[in-house]
């Protein structure tokens, strides 16, 4: 359970707050999607949940963040990192080893995972991210997309209870992006891992996240069940957030038929909606 109460944060040396009066709670086993235009405070929010704010980034901090009952200000980063894993937007700043297997090993050894357990953890993490074949490769020889998968594998090998990902599929093609989302869904549903996913890929986000939070200028402009948030498509567009085209179709058919249509988030739902119009 993540509970954020009236969080405001201004980075040291900045005048404008990066986050203002954020109130948000994510239940255990929740899947929250976070979206918003550039500069809205998405990465700052991720840093606040993982405790990097205020431990790494000083500034003016008001309010509180608790992760599984631990207050992120009072708890050391070391203890927090056993609860929360984070995949950074900038993969280059996350990966520290020259070889793929070493990158996974590094985190596991730091966490004091028993030696005999380590090979199975590495196999599992590489297998789930679909990169078993990259185990012995050097990081330098990998593409951007492959590096992104290594960064994700190295975090999930640690079995965090909460996973925060900041645009983890930026370099991936649509099929690989969908694989990563499906895999997060599996972790979420089968192992109850709480997922907080920052993404610009609105179509995928709406298909997979059960809840959405829309950030704009450091504040939460809207939050709630994904469909409930998408029902305010026009408001989102005014903030610079697109919505999936099937959702736009829902809105257009509602307008043109004069009958409220369901808010669709995927092709299956859109197909059902349209079929009801056809003779």
């Amino acid at each position: 359970m993540i509970q954020i109460q009236d969080l405001s944060f201004t980075y040291k040396g900045e005048k404008t707050p990066a986050l203002q009066e954020i109130r948000l709670s994510v239940p255990d086993g929740g899947f929250l999607g976070v979206i918003g235009p550039a500069g809205a405070g998405k990465t700052t929010l991720a840093r606040a949940i993982t405790g990097m704010i205020p431990h790494h980034y000083p500034g003016e901090y008001y309010g509180s963040v608790t992760v599984n009952g631990l207050d992120t200000v009072e708890t050391s980063l070391n203890d927090l990192s056993r609860q929360v894993g984070m995949v950074f937007q900038d993969v280059e700043s996350q990966i520290i080893s020259p070889m793929v297997e070493d990158e996974l090993l590094y985190g596991l050894e730091n966490f004091g995972v028993p030696r005999e357990e380590i090979p199975a953890r590495i196999d599992e993490a590489l297998g789930k991210t679909g990169i078993l074949n990259l185990r012995d490769r050097s990081i330098a020889s990998l593409s951007g997309g492959q590096r992104q998968k290594v960064a994700i594998a190295s975090i999930i090998a640690l079995h965090p209870r909460v996973l925060v990902l900041d645009e983890p599929t930026g370099e991936l093609d649509p099929r690989s992006s969908r694989q990563v989302f499906s895999f997060l869904k599996e972790l979420n549903e089968e192992q109850g891992v709480t997922v907080i996913l920052i993404e610009q890929k609105i179509m995928l986000l709406c298909e997979f996240a059960r809840q959405l939070a829309v950030l704009s200028e450091g504040r939460i402009a809207r939050q709630g069940e994904t469909r409930e948030v998408l029902a305010h498509a026009e408001e989102l567009q005014a903030l610079g957030v697109n919505c999936p085209r099937v959702t736009t179709l829902s809105m257009l058919l509602t307008d043109r038929s004069g009958t409220p249509q369901p808010v669709c988030v995927n092709l299956e739902e859109a197909e059902q909606m349209v079929r009801r119009f056809l003779p």
Binding site: A38, E171, S257, Q272
Partner: protein
Amino acid sequence: MIELEHVSFAYPEQGPSVQDVSFRLEKGEFVAILGANGAGKTTTVRLIDGLLRPTSGRVLVAGADTRESQVSERARRVGFLFQNPDRQICKNTVREEILFGLQTVRADEGEAALQARTEEVLRDFAFTGEEEPFSLSRGQRQRVALASILAVEPEVLILDEPTTGLDYRECCHIMDRIRRMNEEQQTTVIMVCHDMEVVLDYARRALVMAEGKLLADGKVPEIFRDSALMERASILPPQMIGLGLRLGGGLENACSPEEMADAVMAKSNKKGGAQHA
């Protein structure tokens, strides 16, 4: 304008990453290169740019073989917008950045002309010129990179995933500006892009690649309607086309939600009264 004749390319100690690819692009086209990670898309645009030379075959840009032409000559003709703007920005202010690009390829025009051109481009992009690129957002930095390329007025513009990391509004700004350049100056645009909605909205022709080979070459909405091809190339078509294909009955011709809504209402026998499930 651009011609690839049986072009193959292999990176040292790796298998071929482009194999026997041939196509021709005319001036003023807007082409997207589609395919999964590792399909050979980036290698293909680097071959066109002359950053890479083919292992076999020929690449001709405006009639000149990239193996024989000068880097300075190619830089004048071909602009390259990278995925990550930080790989191309190197100056401390936006004005210096734009001027620097002009000085490297249009030095023969004299400093006064280049300064005037810089001011013109700054106005066009609504920059003051004093902005420091590295304190701008990623979307703004991508606009700086685009501005310094447009300043040179290349005949060919290559975009390697130009919208990665940008939000929706930034993505529209960048793509609309590129479309304007394509329409007004007949700049040939070649774009590698993973966002099929962007491809559908902006490109007119698509080259589909898989495992280094060219699988197909055709018009944009049609190519997305070829389900077998999309499957082979690991591409998910844009949502409205995917939906149209599931529904059939002429609805597969709709490209946008608006066209889909029009087509659905035209076929509907429940105008003004469809039931809500």
